[in-house]
Amino acid sequence: MNNLLQFVIRYSAFLLFLLLEVVALILVVQYNENQQSIFANSNSIISGKLYKLADDAVQYNHLQVTVDSLSAYNAKLEERIFNLERSIQKLIPADRPLDSCILLPFKLIDAQVINNSINQRNNHFTIDRGSNDSIRAGMGVISPHGIAGIIDQVGENYSVAISILHSAARISASIKRNEYFGSLVWKEVDPGHMILEAIPRQADILVGDTIITSGFSFIYPKGIFIGTVERFWTEGGSNYYTIEVRLHEDIARLNRVFVIDFTENELTTE
């Protein structure tokens, strides 16, 4: 007993070091396993406030970029309104969106990105909207030129979203021209590219093909423009193409985003 006590006193610094390292490793592993940060609340409140302050300070420099991207988005909206009006006039049942029977129309909540990262393995960004603005975990986040991420943790006034540049992000995407679909993952190539997997070999793909969201998940509606095919190949012996997609949105300059809110309609029997 005496020996043990002396051992502990002699190596107390080393033991303290070991203890704290084990605690840190447990934190790392837990965080990696279920993406549930214990810091969810403090993250959204303490660092959220600080980031908001800093973001306000540099916001002015980004005004020109913001204005450009907003006006581009306005133009796209006009175009969509025009197309919608035309399809309403035609009133062909086939033109109705597939999910209209189970979902209410989408609502978009606009938000601003106040903290962002692109150079880690698992990237997140923080937006200045939270549960007070009816944000819920699992909602999709889109940006003027593509998709941005999925809401992960929601605080009262801020929420943290998993960026599409995250090792756990899998987005169901399809090729617009022939409707083959696969899942889009980030293989840490670089922040401008993602990999579209599981497109079968018989699909005909051209460089420059448009990649859109497939609408098979309840996160993103169908038809949001993600990017274009840059190159494609088959891994040796595989029956599936690996397609490198150039993202249309520059995640590094993410600023104004829209959170997609859709509520499930209660099923009614007629």
């Binding site: 107390s12 610094a13 080393f14 303290l16 070091f17 704290l20 390292e21 605690v23 840190a24 490793l25 447990i26 934190l27 790392v28 592993v29 837990q30 965080y31 990696n32 940060s37 214990i38 810091f39 403090s42 993250n43 303490i46 660092s47 600080l50 800093a54 540099v58 962002n116 990262s117 692109i118 150079n119 880690q120 393995r121 698992n122 997140h124 943290v160 670089d190 922040p191 401008g192 520059d250 590094a252």
Partner: protein, 174 residues
Amino acid sequence: MNTESIRHIIRAVLILLVQVLVLKRIGLSNSWIWMHGNIFIYPVIVLLLPFRLSRHYVIVIGFLLGLLIDMFYDTIGVHAFSLTATAYARGLLLSYLEPRGGYQLSMSPTQYSMGLNWLVTYTSLCMVIHTFLFFTAEIFTFVYIGQIVLNTLVTFFLSMAVIMVYHLLFNPKT
């Protein structure tokens, strides 16, 4: 709370602010260098703690500081892991780098009292340990050892440059 500890706390807060508000933002661009590198200046807080501070305090400070940085970087545990190890290694390195007469009470781990050569050796050894363990814990498997080494090298040189600029510019005395 004497003036010295207050000075250390104020410096720690300022360095933390620079780290999370300025240096973290610099990394937000698409270029190759920021894909593989970060700039870490915050280990300086641990490295600059006085010689006579007990090892236990240094380790606990390193751990808590790492957790704080983790909150801002959304990397729970990774910075805490590497900074705790750095804080422990600091004690071993200090006894390894001890000058012939031992450390005097008036000395502190700065260029002012130990000279530039000693400071560069001490800082770079600590930073190699810190950056290597950081990327090991972040990537969490040795399968990507090439990537770990590449990231470590890029980050190490960027961080060392910034830290040495800090030392030469402000020349902290304690």
